[in-house]
């Protein structure tokens, strides 16, 4: 009840990203088959499925990085706040839809500070005070400020694998995206580093729509509000994570989750 005494229905969860009839190709090989799905804002969505089913290709279509691969293309619509990203300049799309890759990939010639600042600097933010403020905030958001604040000038590649991955998350956050795509961000990391990143993902959903690809089902169960199961480039089942894992509606989903294949 609000002050005027009327019942306020909780507003319907808004879809941040709506995918409509997306198909993706490498040359003549079709990898994503006419896929449609909506992603909620301020929540975590996991994408699971056996390796080679097109998870990476699918999320790479969402920030239009798929098309940078020679002979790769995509058709269909991806609406970001209702606007089709395929009608916007891809450079602008990627500023709004950030991405973290499977293998940590800090820029090898840059310091920790330089890595986080790189997106801002290359996008023309010149004011050092503003850059510094954003760098500090991003490192704090990535839960690594205390670890690195004493040696911001050290090379980014001197960090451990888990720290490098959080550095890459900080680098992505520094350009203030609205959506964060993560492609198996923990697959190269040890369990302790993994659990730090999972905690971080949990915090990030307060501000972002997070879409995470994982082939680790426990991870999906731990961090995701909703889970999508992909198989051979098709969306097989999509729903609340709990539902998917406890009461899958499709036989294929059930056999994947129970480990009968994949």
């Amino acid at each position: 009840m609000d002050e005027s005494g009327t019942l306020v229905a909780s507003p319907p969860r808004s879809a941040k990203l709506q995918v409509e009839g997306l198909s993706a190709y490498y040359g003549s090989k079709q990898v994503i088959q006419d896929l449609s799905i909506d992603f909620d804002d301020k929540s975590v969505t996991a994408i699971i499925g056996p390796s080679g089913c097109g998870k990476s290709t699918f999320i790479r279509c969402l920030n239009r990085i798929h098309e940078t691969v020679p002979r790769a293309r995509a058709t269909g619509r991806v609406l970001l706040d209702g606007e089709d990203v395929y009608t916007i300049d891809p450079v602008r799309v990627r500023r709004r839809v950030g991405m973290v890759f499977q293998k940590p990939n800090p820029f090898p010639t840059m310091s920790i500070y330089g890595n986080v600042a790189s997106g801002l600097r290359l996008n023309g933010v010149r004011k050092p005070a503003l850059v510094q403020e954003r760098v500090i905030r991003s490192l704090k958001q990535a839960a690594m400020w205390d670890e690195v604040k004493e040696h911001l000038d050290a090379p980014g590649v001197s960090l451990s694998g888990g720290q490098q991955q959080r550095l890459c998350i900080a680098r992505a956050l520094a350009v203030e995206p609205e959506v964060l795509l993560m492609d198996e961000p923990c697959s190269a990391l040890d369990p302790i580093a993994t659990s730090k990143i999972e905690d971080l993902i949990f915090d990030l959903k307060r501000d972002y729509a997070v879409i995470i690809v994982t082939h680790n089902m426990q991870q999906a169960a731990r961090v995701a509000d909703k889970t999508a199961f992909l198989y051979l480039g098709k969306l097989i089942e999509y729903g609340d994570t709990k539902e998917i894992f406890e009461r899958p509606k499709v036989k294929l989903t059930e056999s994947y989750i129970t480990g009968r294949f994949g």
């Binding site: 950030g98 090898p108 290359l122 090379p155 992505a172």
Partner: protein, 303 residues
């Protein structure tokens, strides 16, 4: 004598090792003798004034008295000018070309450019000299440039740059090809336009290898002689800045070529001194090229 199999195998292995060592020894004899000869004969004339004085008048002590050794100041000056001119043309063009080939040239046109650059690398430098001579001559005939540029430090610098461009472009391309694709994707995913990702992130990741290629191309141009014989065939005077780039200059390779085939003992002695300086200069550039590969972040960066 009869050996068992193991002994035979060991013996064979020893023979091959010794043979390899012998071959290496034979292969480095020329290098060793170049260094030995040029140090032995060059060191005699080298002193401070050898670097500060211009070349001497030819002089034969059998018939004349008061022969001077002079120096190589004007030759060094000419060589530095040639390097400066050719590098100013070849480095920007070569690096831009290398960036194009590596980042944008993954198709038929890029392949033909690559082939063209490789052919150009193999063209004898004397041919490059003749082509540049003809080019300048024709341009002068059309009244597009003054006639006196045809035989000058400028035309020779242009010829050297033609030799450098394909080397710089191909080494730059190879250097950038070593930059992992994940680095490019990381930059693109931050919403950086492709040209900016290439010129700031990819190029800076591969910069030490690009630098090495540039230095090796400079070393090649520093020792190149044939185009100079055609285009920039010496001067006994120092460079006159007021007279501009259409004056001919001397240079270390040309002076050596010129002096060593003369009959004047002072020139022949100076030729050995200039040889030593040239060898040390080239060695220095090669060492610099090696050092460039050790970048700031040690093993972390791409070499």
């Amino acid at each position: 004598m009869k050996f068992d199999r193991d002994t035979r195998r060991k013996l064979f292995s020893h023979v091959v090792s010794v043979a390899c060592l012998l071959c290496v020894g034979i292969a480095i004899i020329p290098l060793g003798s170049i260094l030995y000869e040029s140090v032995l004969k060059g060191i005699v004339v080298i002193n401070w004034s050898f670097f500060t004085e211009n070349q001497p008048l030819p002089c034969n002590p059998q018939f004349q008295s008061g022969c001077q050794f002079g120096g190589i100041f004007n030759s060094i000056e000419g060589t530095l000018l040639l390097i400066g001119i050719s590098a100013a043309i070849a480095l920007p063009l070569g690096i831009l070309g290398g960036i194009y080939l590596s980042e944008f040239g993954r198709h038929r046109f890029g392949d033909s450019l690559r082939f063209f650059a490789d052919v150009l690398t193999g063209v004898p430098s004397i041919v490059v000299g003749i082509v540049v001579f003809s080019l300048f001559f024709l341009l002068a005939q059309q009244g597009l440039i003054p006639t006196n540029y045809t035989l000058s430090v400028l035309s020779a610098g242009v010829a050297l740059s033609f030799i450098m461009i394909p080397i710089v472009a191909r080494t730059c391309e190879e250097a950038l090809a070593l930059v992992p694709n994940s680095t490019r994707e990381a930059a693109l995913a931050l919403g950086v336009p492709k040209w900016k990702a290439v010129t700031s992130i990819v190029l800076s990741t591969g910069r030490s290898a690009v630098m090495t290629g540039a230095l090796l191309a400079i070393a090649r141009a520093t020792g190149e002689t044939a185009p100079l014989i055609i285009l920039d065939a010496g001067s006994q005077f120092s460079f006159q800045p007021s007279a501009g780039l259409h004056q001919p200059t001397s240079s270390l390779p040309f002076s050596i070529y010129n002096w060593v085939q003369s009959a004047y003992p002072n020139w022949i002695a100076d030729a050995w001194g200039a040889t030593l300086v040239l060898v040390v200069l080239m060695l220095g550039i090669s060492v610099a090229a090696r050092l460039a590969l050790r970048n700031k972040y040690g093993e972390g960066g791409v070499v």
